[in-house]
């Protein structure tokens, strides 16, 4: 039997979550050691004997046996929860006790517990996302650093600090407590949203890495939706947004690996199944009075997904959705996107005006697509020289070769247009 592509990574998340619940968050390192050990065994046995019928069950059973060994070995050296301490004190109760802690019913919510634990209020959003990738998605520190285009040591520091915060809470988050669940839910949704965005808009030059991040976000959001308290309109909207955006993933780069803008994408290649699923989820999100930023972003994505050609896009509708989004989550990037939509609707001069009217646009000066948007509208108004300067700035801010090539091509287009245009040629003298 062929193992599924991400079997080890996904099972790692599940197993670490379960073992951390059993050992206590302060013993998470022990949980990770036990999981690593279980993987070594799977690796040694499966490579010769092949992958068993039910690999997940095999791994979890191995982790359970390793856990019993570890508890026997460590029962005097470490402190465990009083309840567990009592169980492991006697050989009579050790194995059956641990057996019960691994029962189907007991492990059911472990991933969700860990997901909520990762979104500890004492952690910054970036740390929460890094922790989720590391613990729930089985990314090594090096792999997280690769995804964030950060250094190994910076990510290592961030993750180990986050784990210390987690350890200080002793127990994993209790997902059966309604009030606490609901109050931490927005942070969890936000972290999942950021995880998805890191994949969709992120800096990693490898599209495979980025697609992975998107898939992980979708997978974890689906787990959240399975819990009665997690399946809120906001979570449905978040899932809808992810599906609708993910439908466009295959066309974000063209056949030669170059970045392709929304306007140039071959829309026939958008994934119609993902679009349909996104629409279904968005319909499910339309209950109750809650209107979240995810509802609005998903609605914007839906407008794009239903336009067969760029020219058919209902820009008026998109602008009105951005207007509402600005009242819920005002950010310069949202304002920039709104200005771009307005430029599409009312012409490039209007778009430029709106971009220049963004009050906190100084916060966009490290964002290559801010200058690219300015350049694009200036290009369309015929100010090729000005546009050329903007694309040059944008190109120098590019975060990976894909972005650099894309912006370089736009810069070249300005050069060509400037040479071909007499007015501009005079202006240059």
């Amino acid at each position: 039997m062929e193992p599924s592509e991400h079997l080890f990574r996904h099972e790692a998340g599940r197993m670490v979550a379960t073992l951390t619940r059993i050992f206590g968050t302060h013993n998470m390192a022990l949980a990770e050691d036990v999981v690593q050990d279980a993987f070594c065994r799977a690796f040694e046995v499966w490579k010769v004997r092949g992958v068993p019928e039910n690999p997940s069950a095999w791994l979890m059973a191995t982790a359970k046996n390793r856990a019993i060994d570890a508890l026997r070995r460590e029962r005097t050296a470490r402190t465990f929860e009083p309840e567990l301490s009592r169980l492991i004190h006697s050989e009579w109760t050790l194995a059956p006790g641990v057996e019960a802690l691994f029962s189907e019913n007991a492990i059911k919510d472990d991933l969700l517990r860990m997901m909520f634990s990762c979104c500890h209020p004492r952690l910054g959003e970036e740390a929460q996302v890094a922790l989720m990738l590391n613990i729930l998605c089985g990314f090594s520190v090096g792999e997280v650093a690769g995804a964030f285009v950060s250094t190994h040591s910076a990510i290592e520091k961030r993750i180990s600090r986050a784990k210390r915060v987690l350890a200080s809470s002793k127990k994993l988050f209790d997902v059966s407590a309604g009030a606490e669940f609901s109050s931490r839910l927005p942070a969890v949704q936000r972290a999942l949203y950021l995880l998805f965005n890191e994949g969709y808009h992120g800096a990693s030059p490898e599209s495979a890495v980025r697609a992975d991040l998107c898939h992980e976000a979708v997978r974890l959001t689906a787990i959240l939706l399975q819990h009665p308290l997690g399946a809120t309109p906001g979570t449905y909207a978040l899932a809808a947004l992810m599906h609708l955006d993910a439908a466009r993933l295959p066309t974000r780069t063209d056949s030669s690996g170059n970045l392709s803008s929304l306007f140039d994408q071959d829309r026939s290649l958008w994934d119609s199944h993902l679009i349909a699923e996104g629409q279904r989820l968005l319909d499910l999100s339309a209950t109750g009075p809650d209107l979240t930023e995810y509802h609005l972003e998903a609605a914007i994505a839906r407008v794009h997904s239903t336009a067969g050609k760029t020219e058919d896009t209902n820009w008026g509708h998109i602008v009105s959705l951005y207007d509402k989004l600005m009242t819920i989550r005002h950010s310069p990037v949202v304002a920039l996107n709104r200005a771009i939509a307005l430029g599409q609707l009312e012409g490039p001069a209007r778009g430029l005006e709106e971009i220049l009217a963004i009050t906190d646009r100084d916060r966009l000066t490290a964002y290559p697509f801010y200058f690219a948007a300015l350049g694009e509208f200036q290009f369309r108004t015929g100010s090729y020289d000005l546009a050329r300067e903007q694309f040059l700035k944008a190109r120098d801010l590019a975060r990976n070769p894909m972005e650099r090539n894309f912006l370089e091509a736009r810069f070249q287009a300005c050069e060509r247009a400037a040479i071909l245009t007499p007015v501009s040629a005079i202006a240059r003298k």
Binding site: P3, R9, E11, C40, E44, V45, W46, V48, S140, G142
Partner: protein, 113 residues
């Protein structure tokens, strides 16, 4: 055809889950390739890294260590090949070589000369 034993020694056991799965896949592909060409007499077994060492007339029993971690035999396969050269050639595809490990290729002594 002659028989040979591949003894797998050492080999890093570190790595992220994704890396381990990747290396495992390489092993499975390599062994399958050998099997498809009729080179596998017995696929062998992986061995625990621990056990007991029984030594000398006194039959002293210790918990090891048997060898340095990098030399520990982690498993074996019984191979059929034309001669030692071919067996060595076959061993060169073993993924353990990319992970700081070694394959020891040992001819099985024949009964009838």
């Amino acid at each position: 055809m002659s028989e040979f034993v591949f003894l797998y020694r050492g080999g890093s056991r570190d790595g992220s889950p994704a890396e381990m799965q990747q290396v495992m896949q390489k092993w499975m592909n390599w062994l399958k390739g050998l099997g498809d060409k009729g080179h596998i007499k017995d696929q062998g077994q992986p061995l625990e890294r621990s056990g007991r060492l029984v030594k000398g007339k006194q039959k002293t029993v210790t918990d090891g260590p048997f060898a340095e971690a990098k030399d520990i035999v982690g498993g074996y396969t019984l191979i059929e090949a034309r001669d030692l050269d071919q067996a060595v050639e076959l061993s060169k595809g073993c993924p353990i070589l990319e992970r700081d490990g070694a394959v020891e290729v040992r001819p099985v002594m024949k009964m009838s000369m």
